[in-house]
Symmetry: C2
Subunit: 212 residues, 2 copies
């Protein structure tokens, strides 16, 4: 249905090669049929391996989902953290965060859908770990919004709700984005960066003129 | 996991009673396990009926999904159309549209998730019908934004992209909303109505003072 599952750069750190092949096969299968309708046999078959070979790398189907979810959530967190720690002011850093986050959700929409829609299938400890990563991600974006409120560049009556809405807007790109559609990931990223600045009531800082 | 599936008012027009029970059972099953992992036997069982009794009302599992998707999409369209045709100015009508749309996605998040995430399972003709409803929904919201641009109350460089982003923001409420969570559907609706006005660069019309 889309080429998203064929992108492998997000799994580049996974070794050995067989484990990486199994993860990309699992992403494709979960995205097409859903987690519960997919068997480890399906996944092994897509990866050109036997079910027995799969069990060398992953004990269960849930283990595969946990690994996929972890990679996706850690990437999202690192993208936002990098934007937060950038050198510009809050507006520049918020725009950067949104632009990068949107581009990732557009380019990797197959993975992002699995990561976002199959959370309910994660077991106890795994779910707690991913929930912690999600809280951290929320906090990183929120801290950029708080910075802007502190400097007076942003006007945000509800920082917590607005920060969650910003993340939500970005995440939903994975639902509707189609490869080869009307807009490129870059174009969506630019549009959304502008919308994000509007959502936080951005106005240039009083001394912003000296920076240009 | 949530009480959303227990809400039956959205199915009030479905008769006979057995068909309505099957639809609500199907929503619950699809939401919990995904469309592909659900069998018509599961659905009949949840509705307290035999598989044979199910086939009196629905020929296939896809038939059930099509019916659910149609009900959901027609409700969404009617909510937005009512807001568009309201008596206020563009800002009031946009706020009303977003508030109502968000509340629906929060209150009926189980149905909304099935409607939004299982579109790919709809067959040819059914999918075309739902796609047409979605285009109509997009156009209704866009027309409110266009009205505001025309009167000068909204400042929107990219009307099409901004309208889609507004809908996307509302739809994603179904993904993260939890019954009994931090905010009520009404509170989320109010927050999002305010954010929507920011996204369209709302400024009161020159003669707005005469209306207060």
């Amino acid at each position: 249905m889309d080429a998203g599952g064929a992108r492998t750069e997000e799994w580049a750190d996974v070794t050995p090669d067989a484990a990486r092949r199994l993860l990309t096969a699992a992403v494709q299968a979960f995205a097409e049929r859903g987690y519960h309708a997919t068997t480890t046999r399906d996944i092994a078959g897509r990866a050109g391996m036997s079910p027995a070979a799969l069990y060398i790398h992953f004990r269960t189907k849930e283990d595969l989902l946990h690994r996929i979810s972890g990679v996706g959530h850690r990437l999202a967190l690192s993208l936002l953290t990098r934007a937060r720690d950038g050198s510009g002011g809050p507006a520049e850093r918020l725009a950067d965060a949104v632009r990068t986050f949107v581009r990732w959700h557009a380019e990797h929409h197959t993975t992002a859908r699995v990561v976002q829609y199959e959370l309910g299938a994660l077991a106890g400890e795994h779910r707690a770990e991913i929930t912690a990563l999600r809280r951290e991600t929320d906090a990183v974006l929120r801290s950029i919004v708080e910075d802007g409120v502190r400097t007076g560049e942003f006007d945000v009556p509800d920082v917590r709700g607005t920060s969650l809405a910003l993340l939500s807007l970005c995440v939903d790109v994975a639902r509707w984005f189609r490869d080869g559609g009307e807009r490129t990931p870059e174009e969506v990223g630019d549009l959304y960066a502008g919308l994000a600045l509007r959502m936080v009531g951005h106005r240039p800082a009083p001394d912003a003129g000296t920076l240009t």
